[in-house]
Symmetry: C2
Amino acid sequence: MAIKFADRMDNLKASEIRELLKFAADPSIISFGGGMPAPELFPVEEMKKVAVAVLEESGQSALQYATTEGNVKLREQIADRMNRKYQSKVALDDVLITSGSQQGLDFAGKIFINEGDVVLCESPSYLGAINAFKAYGPKFIEVPTDDHGMVIEELEKILDSTENVKMVYVIPDFQNPSGKTWTMERRERFMEVINKHEIPVIEDNPYGELRFEGEILPSLKSMDTKDLVVFLGTYSKIFAPGLRIGWVCAAPEILQKFNFVKQSADLQSSTISQMEAAKFGEMYDLDAHVEKIKAVYKVRRDLMMKIMKEEFPEGVKWTYPEGGLFTWVVLPEHINARDLLKKCLEEKVAFVPGGAFFPNGGNENTFRLNYSNAPEEKLEEGMKRLAKAIKSMM
Amino acid sequence: MAIKFADRMDNLKASEIRELLKFAADPSIISFGGGMPAPELFPVEEMKKVAVAVLEESGQSALQYATTEGNVKLREQIADRMNRKYQSKVALDDVLITSGSQQGLDFAGKIFINEGDVVLCESPSYLGAINAFKAYGPKFIEVPTDDHGMVIEELEKILDSTENVKMVYVIPDFQNPSGKTWTMERRERFMEVINKHEIPVIEDNPYGELRFEGEILPSLKSMDTKDLVVFLGTYSKIFAPGLRIGWVCAAPEILQKFNFVKQSADLQSSTISQMEAAKFGEMYDLDAHVEKIKAVYKVRRDLMMKIMKEEFPEGVKWTYPEGGLFTWVVLPEHINARDLLKKCLEEKVAFVPGGAFFPNGGNENTFRLNYSNAPEEKLEEGMKRLAKAIKSMM
């Protein structure tokens, strides 16, 4: 075939996480791979009542086209949520609904990145964001992180010595993939540096509410005095990913660009999904639902940590996440996590090798584990198989 | 603010159609502007049963992440539909679900267009497609059309004399905005030329099933022997746009690119919306539903045609659509449709000025009328107001 694709298509390939979802469909495999919520916690019975209520009260509007920015009630609830949970001071007009926060990532790339521009991100960073940005042809510079978050001295060095830095992408709360959370002090210093350099920040926060211990820290957005921070949120982890409801919260000049881009990308997100999410917020207590999720995930995190401590051989390190969905494992340098995965798939257990989370490659001795999706018994069995496979490669 | 947006943002502005949706929200305005289906025909009662059935039978899966390519049952129904309606021979693996066909348009731009590449389209063409493609920086060449479709001699001349033509975008059935349909002979000659030049074709077909008279003609996709045609379909006009269900049907090499792009753009379309659309197809008769829609729209088309004939002054011309949602009006050259719109908004009636449908500008004496969204009484009143406004400008 003589068809010529655009050059950008050379940068895109199938996501390993999505490919892994195919394994996960095999019920005999215990998967720590995806970032899937526990389906047994979805409010299925409540959603039946919600769906009927939406169609009874406003069936015709629910099935019709609606505005690009999204459902007013839902945006109101989201603004309120951000103010209550993350100390923001935003209103519904600061919020635009997206189809999951993944769409917010794609749009951020489209809005900010010219080919060859520099994007800064944590090292490692979220694979899905890296792939979304790659379509727009940036160079990535990975900023080193430690247990307290991004290393600000390194960020400053890079900003002082680099042209064309167009945006900084960060996940300060229970980072994907590392599970780490930035301290308050790190957030403050980060915003000082950002304000000095006036670089847009994409603050991706899918997991912030899922904190098992301690207090939720203020979002970068709440500390933003120069309209530089674009906050991406989602209902996927606190409610249900199948509805594809996420949001962008940004200053008017930036949010208008998101609106234009969304118009040409898909006009609007599902009217009925938005109305259902808003109606759930009216009829039920989403905060109480999040508490239920946290209680279950905390038990799974604790169990995963316990088994790692008991079963993983010396020389293997991992992070202790105070919330969210993931922990991050660093193997001795001579072990390649892709080889480990091959062995593990034979043993019917899966995870995501860490190399893909580094946009500039390397770090093949790392991998990400998800603990939200497997019930305790399965989690225990899967972790034992994984430990055995690691031991066999030491 | 010092923030620098990507260069492509200079090409994007708010769609006039979307801005008009804001007028349409004012209930005192009779709008022929949008492309909205008649909401009174939405199967609201059926959807209540469908929603409950989906949540009862597979509530956890309906609220969970799912695969990028989309729900298997829905893709099966769509492939079957394409084969029955448009003489295609496709299977579920040839179909990928998108969030409306607008998303298919954006993805087509992303997949095929490098900055400066040439995109051919009918003159006029769909505003939303033009805007979606513009984000990727192409040059547009408009191919002249007559009452039988694209003028093939002109297409050949352009292809013979132009470098870097990366795709041809067409709407052969009840075109948006013109309401015109390509004849069989024109389809055959088009495919001959395309096969010779081996250029990808984006065949956008949102309205094809809404034919009020005569037989549905074969899709270009069904006549495609070289895997060059990408077919975009949607449930928005035959079912409900609020679910945001569209699809792409293409050869494996091309469809795989759509899959990669969708992964990074939004992972997948709404799981629950897809399951509901598929369940509706199982529980009810979508073909029968389409017949109901056609019967209502035919009456409205007839009424609009009748009033135009009776009330529009000499020197105004319009198309006779055999189906779909739109007719296209050409005013005498000295009348600017944007000025007419201003006058009409004072009289509480709205439409979309035609200039925006020509990517290279001009043709300001044209506009598009939609007849699907207004009940007869309103349609009659609105058309009379419109006729009066036109007369006052002659």
